[in-house]
Amino acid sequence: MYLSTQRLPWIIKYRPKHVDEVVDQDEAKEKLLEWLKSWEKAPPSKKAILLHGPAGCGKTSLVEAVAKTYGYELFEMNASDSRRKEDIERLAKAASQTSGLRARRKIILLDEVDGLDPKSDVGGVESLIEVIKNTRNPIIMTANNPYREHLRPLRELSEVIAMNRLRETDVVRVLTRICGAEKLDCDTEALKEIAKRSEGDLRSAINDLEAAAALNKKVTLETVKAISTYRDRTHAPWEALRKLFSARFVFQAREAITSTDLTPEEFKTWVNEHIPSWYDDPYEVWRAYEALSRADQYFGRIVKTQNWDLLSYALDMMGPGVAFARTKYKGKFVAFKMPERIKLLAETKRSREYREALAEHLASRLLTSKANVKSDFIPYLRVIFTNNPKYAAKIAQSYKLPEELVTWLAGPKAKDVLAYMKKTKK
């Protein structure tokens, strides 16, 4: 028993066993507990949580600690272990059934959902959505990067909770505690160096400490420098944006755009959103947008011609092009929020689809092109539908307009028009 404990890697051995041992992340903790508490009466409106943050910030540990502290049974599944649709369905569905009267309450933990590959895990996200909709137990998903486009449906369905990179001082605190428990002689300077190199990734810090201790019972700055290297880290989108806008050299600006888990095209949306958050001089705003616009053009050409050679130019314009739009270097702090557009994308797309569908629906009856219906009929139909619901209802009936198109046309008056349609049908 004693032996087996000794052989455990430290990152498992020193996992927090109680919520209070989880360092930092007070906000995430509070939100998570509040949400779990809301389950006691009835399932809340958002039946899943998407817990996201950089690697090693303690997402899984937090969930495990919560389960231990409050006596939940943890049903754990790593989404990237069994990615196939059938696996997810079987595992998660079984877990979503209510447990017997005496059984312990359950939390379903789906780790690393961003590991789902939109191409090879066909139906993975879809089946997860089904599972969430039907679950009777709280579901917690973790992800490094929740902003991938294919995760959008999961994001919309979940309460999204962010966790931050740990502060250096917090990392040092945990390392000091482990040193004490392992009876090691550790230099404070050495621990600080490990913490610095970990960039807030506690897991890698503990691994480094373990490696240094294996070399020598006394952990010094020299041993640390010898064994630990800076890791290639991925950054959260907002971190990458800060890197980009405050880059002093071309290579930094270029690195910034490839340092996230996002594809360059996905990151483009973040840059698009935040050019005016960083720049305030109209000249700089325009220069930056012009550069982004050129990058965007290259992306379009790549898609069209499949000529991936052009990617390099796109990245030049999106990185250095945007960063060096400035006329003077400014160091400053800006809080970068998630782009509005990612939230609105679905809505914009739907609106355009409705317009297209309506044009398609009417073009043949009106003996004209779809383009013409859009330019000459739809604007006037909108006037009628938003101003005279009764009359609009009659027109809608003659042309058998489906409900969603009526709703789109009538906007704020949709309810009235639909009510009249029901009345006349009877």
Binding site: P282, D296, S369, K370, N372, P379, Y380, V383, T386, Q397
Partner: protein
């Protein structure tokens, strides 16, 4: 009497047969002769929008084949089906089946043919030759000069002229009387002015105005104002006054609420800058138009709507500042 349904007047008051067509008298007379001889050539109907080209084509087919004429007619729209392969396949399918009845040919109506590229038109010309044994083509075009000569020479060309003020006004008046709508004649004149002789647009304005109440000048102006979102102009003015963030917000509204695409918006901005009500120095108008063209090109090439439009607005904000609009 309680009407359960209501048609769009552009459909309801469309002439069904050539006898009901009140304008374009010469054209109608010539077409009637073709019908009585059961001999129709390939034809090109050219003229401005809303002058009755498509309507006349349908009326003629109706008079040739009777009520179920649409089964003898293939309707294609060049601006919706840009690919010549699509057109070729459809024509091939359609021409393959034999004609039954007393008319020995079927009709292919290709609307807005001037939207086809010259290459596509060459392919079209071959199609016309290939299937001329049992099909006749009717092409419509706003700009006949954009139709290649080999096609023009194979067609009997009919030039539709813009409708006269009195024709449009009397037609609108007739509709008002049939629909029992109160209207002021001056309001109908305004509709004519606003619709630039386009009957379809005139009727649409009339119907929307009637939906709001009695058709008066004020109502007509109100309808046209409502139909063409002021947001585009507001967005333009916000950007030119240097308020990029607000302009960007308007842009999003336009895309979400109206379902407009990037190209739609660029085109509307282009129209707005030459609107006399929008006060912009002339040299600035030219610069904006130039950049609008560039942005539209980038969009057509496959670039992203929002990024390109943001670049456009950022440029406008910069221009506005320099010229102090």
């Amino acid at each position: 009497m309680y009407f359960m349904s209501e048609l769009l007047w552009a459909e309801k008051y469309r002439p069904r047969s050539l006898d009901e067509v009140v304008n374009q008298k010469e054209i109608v007379d010539r077409l009637k002769r073709f019908i009585s001889e059961r001999n129709v050539p390939h034809m090109l109907f050219a003229g401005p929008p809303g002058t009755g080209k498509t309507t006349v084509a349908h009326a003629m087919a109706h008079d040739l084949y009777g009520e179920n004429y649409r089964q003898y007619m293939l309707e294609l729209n060049a601006s919706d089906e840009r690919k010549i392969e699509v057109i070729r396949t459809k024509v091939k399918e359609f021409a393959r089946s034999r004609v039954v009845g007393e008319v020995p040919f079927k009709i292919v109506l290709l609307d807005e043919a001037d939207n086809m590229t010259a290459d596509a038109q060459q392919a079209l010309r071959r199609l016309m030759e290939l299937y001329s044994a049992n099909t006749r083509f009717i092409l419509t075009a706003n700009y006949p000069s954009k139709i290649i000569e080999p096609i023009q020479s194979r067609c009997a060309v009919f030039r539709f002229t813009a409708l006269k003020r009195e024709d449009v006004v009397s037609r609108l008046m007739y509709i008002c009387q049939s629909e029992k709508v109160n209207c002021v004649e001056r309001a109908l004149e305004v509709i004519y002015d606003l619709s630039e002789g386009d009957m379809r647009r005139a009727i649409n304005i009339l119907q929307a105005a009637a939906a709001l109440g009695d058709v008066t000048e004020d109502i007509v102006y109100k309808v046209v104002g409502l139909a063409h979102p002021r947001e585009v102009r507001e967005m333009l003015q916000l950007a030119l006054s240097g308020n990029f963030m607000e302009a960007r917000k308007k842009l999003r509204d336009l895309m979400i609420n109206y379902g407009l695409s990037g190209v739609d918006i660029v085109k509307q901005v282009h129209r707005e800058i030459f609107n006399p009500e929008v006060k912009i120095p002339d040299d600035l108008k030219v610069m904006i138009a130039d950049y609008a063209g560039e942005i539209q090109y980038r969009l057509v090439e496959g670039a992203d709507d929002e990024i390109q439009l943001n670049a456009f607005l950022a440029r406008l904000a910069l221009m506005g500042r320099r010229l102090k609009v």
